[in-house]
């Protein structure tokens, strides 16, 4: 008989340990240490009940921990201290003499811990913790129901297995079932407490390479990339600078990484201070209102092209204060003309001809105006679909397609300027944003991503901003490294991708889209019978293999499931059959052994039978040692 209270205790510890693992990364060391010490103490006390700590002492400690943790809370550091306090409270609860209520409280706190972890990280690891906690707590709750009925109840081992089976059954129905609720639960586009989410969204890439012609999901992404606390400013000043791209290879733009000496003269213009809360997005560039002058954050590097970056990719929400100057000009007296006039050799003579026609005999300022006018007044249209994808996408865009996204507009301008001898570069970042009057901040979304151009005009002694698109979005570039490890990493990342695509990024708009699809499917059922037939036929070849595997599996299971004594007997009979002795139906083992003519074999067989029967008929279980010795004896036959 097994006591329910003991099983419950073990399961509770399992739930607590998994909950702790889910928040372990975010806890302060002193929280972790206190939890572990208390856990060990409670484990020790549950086996050796030497002292019973009075409840009032535990309550007093709990209150002290709550107060200490409350002192550590700030608007920016809210979730972690709460989780720390919670995990220590759970450990204290484990120390108490537990009634139904105490167990229920522990499980509830563990659920809150898991929720806390979800506020800090959106990683797929959550699914693992969640499933484990669900499995353990389902089983624990069933036993808790027993415990609530009779705290001293004990059950037989066979019943224990039945209850465990039942809890597995419940889990296997409830967990997939929760997917239905996940899909249909109401959602809103404007969550109130989204500030609590510290875990990054699955932001598809704002990368440091722009490849022309590639469509990006960023254009459809409505996640917040950052919020900037600042006064409201004019719409046309809302350019958030991120990365500067200076190297063009004919179809893509990169940051060459060349860092010229810091020769920037001080900026002029209206000073605007922002506090930026940047969501983790997987790259190292920081965004700031154009033109940033200083950033109050450790390890920030501000390049002379005014792009700001951290040494490592940003994987958690960060906050920094930026001082920017709302100015259209970046003063620069020592521009590296070679760097900013770089073009691939033999690049599109057709564009070269066009530039030549547009700029012949004009000054720098006139050239800029002429090219800008050509793009703005030409019949170019903004489009995110059906982008030019030839070997020379820019030529395609300028002369044939005449439709593209902001990357095409900006690239065309920059390339044409460079061809006309005016240093130019692309600036990637965000444009616009939504001002929240109550909170006093701009909310900038991923789909605000934008690319514009900066051209160097010697008479202005600096770079001026030129935006050939009034409103455009930018496509991310993807790595095309074919190395084995990257491919492998990409394969592994597929799970993450699906996790983020279907779970993390499932929102109100997708919910609506899904509903529409279902509605359409009901109204116009599209049954593709032929396709289904084809699919079945294709899979038919696998059928024999599957059947064979099934049979093999069945035989294996049967062999494993057979009792050890049956296996021994079978082996014994098999062995003797080979020597010419077949056991008759209903023939006793001793009788069978006595029939053997060869004296030596008979003695050995009788020894086996005697040993076997001495265990079997005494209703004893065959120990490992028994089985080993009997097997050895049968082998010797």
């Amino acid at each position: 008989m097994i006591k329910i209270s003991r099983i419950l205790q073990i399961l509770t510890y399992l739930v607590v340990v998994v909950s702790y693992a889910s928040v372990f990364h975010y806890l302060e060391h002193y929280h972790s240490l206190s939890f572990l010490l208390l856990l060990i103490l409670s484990l020790y006390l549950s086996f050796h009940r030497i002292i019973r700590i009075p409840r009032w002492v535990l309550n007093a400690i709990s209150i002290a921990i709550l107060v200490i943790s409350a002192l550590a809370i700030s608007t920016e550091y809210l979730v972690e201290p709460v989780l720390g306090a919670l995990i220590v409270l759970v450990a204290i609860k484990l120390l108490e003499e537990k009634t139904f209520r105490d167990y229920a409280q522990i499980f509830a706190m563990c659920i809150f811990l898991l929720i806390g972890s979800s506020l800090l990280s959106l990683s797929i690891a959550f699914l693992g913790y969640f499933s484990l906690i669900a499995l353990f707590s389902t089983t624990a709750l069933i036993f808790l129901a027993y415990f609530a009925q009779q705290s001293e109840i004990a059950i037989r081992r066979s019943i224990l297995y039945k209850v465990l089976l039942q809890s597995l059954l419940i889990c296997s129905i409830a967990l997939p079932g929760s997917l239905i609720f996940f899909i249909i639960l109401p959602r809103t586009s404007y969550p109130i407490f989204s500030f609590l989410n510290k875990g990054g969204y699955a932001m598809s890439g704002f990368t440091d390479t722009i490849r022309l012609g590639e469509i990006s999901e960023i254009q459809e992404d409505n996640n917040v990339i950052f919020r900037a606390q600042m006064p409201k400013i004019a719409e046309d000043e809302l350019y958030w600078r991120g990365i500067v791209l200076d190297a063009f290879d004919g179809s893509s733009w990169k940051n060459s990484g060349k860092r010229s000496r810091f020769s920037m003269t001080p900026l002029r213009g209206r000073e605007i201070v922002q506090v930026v809360y940047l969501e983790p997005y997987g790259n190292r560039f920081l965004f700031a209102l154009d033109k940033p002058w200083s950033i109050a954050l450790r390890n920030v590097y501000i390049s002379d092209d005014l792009s700001c970056s951290l040494p490592d990719s940003i994987h958690e929400r960060i906050r920094y204060e930026v001082k920017s100057y709302a100015s259209n000009l970046v003063p620069d007296q020592a521009v590296d003309r070679r760097q900013y006039l770089q073009m691939p050799s033999d690049f599109s003579p057709r564009i070269g001809k066009l530039v030549e026609d547009l700029t012949k005999g004009k000054s720098d300022a006139e050239i800029v105006r002429a090219i800008l006018q050509y793009i703005n007044r030409g019949s170019y249209r903004y489009s995110m679909e059906d982008l030019p994808q030839s070997a020379d996408p820019l030529e395609d865009f300028l002369f044939q397609h005449k439709a593209g996204n902001c990357e095409f507009f900006a690239s065309s301008l920059a390339v044409m300027l460079r061809m006309a001898g005016i240093p130019a570069r692309l600036v990637g970042g965000y444009r616009g944003g939504y001002y929240n009057n109550t909170g006093g901040y701009y909310m900038v979304l991923q789909h605000n991503a934008h690319v514009w151009v900066e051209a160097y005009l010697p008479h202005r002694e600096g770079w001026i901003r030129l935006d050939p698109t009034l409103y455009a979005r930018m496509a991310p570039a993807t790595e095309r490294d074919r190395s084995f490890f990257l491919q492998f990493k990409l394969l592994l990342d597929t799970f993450n991708y699906y996790w983020y695509t279907f779970i993390i990024n499932y929102d109100f708009s997708r919910q609506l889209a899904l509903l529409k699809k279902i509605k359409a499917a009901i109204q116009k059922p599209d049954i593709k019978i032929d396709l289904a037939k084809e699919r079945i036929r294709r899979h038919l070849y696998y059928l024999p293999a599957v059947l064979l595997l099934g049979i093999l599996g069945y035989v294996a299971v049967q062999t494993i499931m057979k009792k050890p004594d049956d296996r021994l007997l079978n082996k014994f009979q098999r062995k003797l059959r080979r020597r010419g002795y077949v056991r008759k139906p209903c023939e006793g083992l001793e009788e069978f052994a006595a029939r053997i003519h060869e004296q030596d074999l008979r003695i050995k067989a009788q020894e086996v039978v005697a040993r076997f029967e001495s265990i079997y008929f005494k209703d004893q279980n065959f120990t490992r040692e028994d089985l080993r010795s009997l097997n050895r004896r049968i082998d010797e036959l």
Partner: protein, 290 residues
């Protein structure tokens, strides 16, 4: 019928709270938690409901039940389901309850519950419910078993000194030492214990030797035959009279003295058989009852 337990209310509130947090943080992981809690609520409902289906109750009622005396009634829970065992079934009978922690599929389990019927007569045990908190102690589900069990409670046996019957019989026949079984004289034999034997006659020595409860049978002071004419008895305190007669009937039959009864014009000839005893007691139990 469902009753939401305290833990159930907390679960519901927790689910609502987490659902609210999910909507207002837009965090899909919290949505997963809320969905799982809802899903568990639904699945626990289905399992809880299923757990009460295909159950039958049978009562094992002793043949002789006397008013005001505690008797154990056997409650058999029969799980008629083919696959699903019955978990944590509580059987509610009147104001008593018995817990069956586990009853396998296609099997049954038995437990006893002590009853104490205060008054004689016919009783109907009709209010039988099976209930269970399975699987999570959030909700208690009840199901009424539409089955009634009738039983007759005999009057409480009471030894009375004021009844004329015994005196009169004694006077007519006179006392005589006899081989008839009674509780008055020497040990005649030792037999297996049967329900209702007074504790003081249990032969502990024989019980210890055989491992079965044994009762000493003593010789009785002989009373040849007894006829109790209840119709002619004083019935000012009817219940008292019934109790006294019950006591006498039991005493005589236990002493192997044939006893007869005249009641409501019906004449029962003296006999000592068990069925005769039951008949007499039933008559007494149902006296003056519609």
């Amino acid at each position: 019928m469902i009753k939401i337990n305290k833990a159930g209310w907390i679960y519901i509130i927790l689910t609502l709270l987490i659902g609210f947090s999910a909507v207002n943080t837009g965090n899909n992981l919290i949505y997963i938690m809320a969905s799982a809690l809802l899903s568990y609520m639904l699945v626990s409902g289905i399992f809880g409901r299923q757990n009460l289906h295909g159950l039958a109750i049978e009562l094992e009622i002793p043949e002789e039940i006397y008013a005001g005396t505690e008797i154990p009634i056997g409650i058999r829970l029969i799980n008629q389901r083919r696959l699903m065992p019955a978990f944590l079934i509580r059987v509610l009978i009147e104001d008593r309850q018995v817990l069956f922690a586990y009853t396998g599929a296609k099997s049954e389990d038995k437990s006893y519950c002590t009853f104490d019927f205060k008054v004689r007569g016919e009783h109907v045990i009709g209010s039988i419910y099976v209930c269970s908190v399975f699987p999570f102690n959030f909700f208690t589900r009840f199901r009424k078993i539409h089955q009634a069990f009738r039983l007759i409670v005999f009057p409480k046996p009471k030894k009375c000194g004021d009844l004329p019957a015994q005196d009169r019989q004694a006077r007519i026949k006179g006392d005589a030492s006899t081989l008839a079984i009674g509780f008055d004289s020497d040990i005649i034999s030792i037999r297996d214990y049967s329900s209702g034997d007074p504790l003081k006659y249990i032969s502990w020595k024989s019980t210890a030797k055989t491992g079965v409860l044994k009762t000493k049978e003593l010789s009785a002071i002989e009373l040849q035959q007894v006829l109790i004419d209840f119709d002619r008895m004083d019935k000012r305190d009817l219940e008292h009279s019934l109790s006294c007669v019950t006591f006498l009937v039991l005493k005589f039959i236990r002493s192997n003295i044939p006893v007869g009864l005249v009641i409501q014009g019906e004449h029962f000839k003296p006999a000592v058989s068990k069925s005769h005893k039951i008949n007499l007691l039933r008559k007494l139990a149902l006296y003056d009852q519609n």
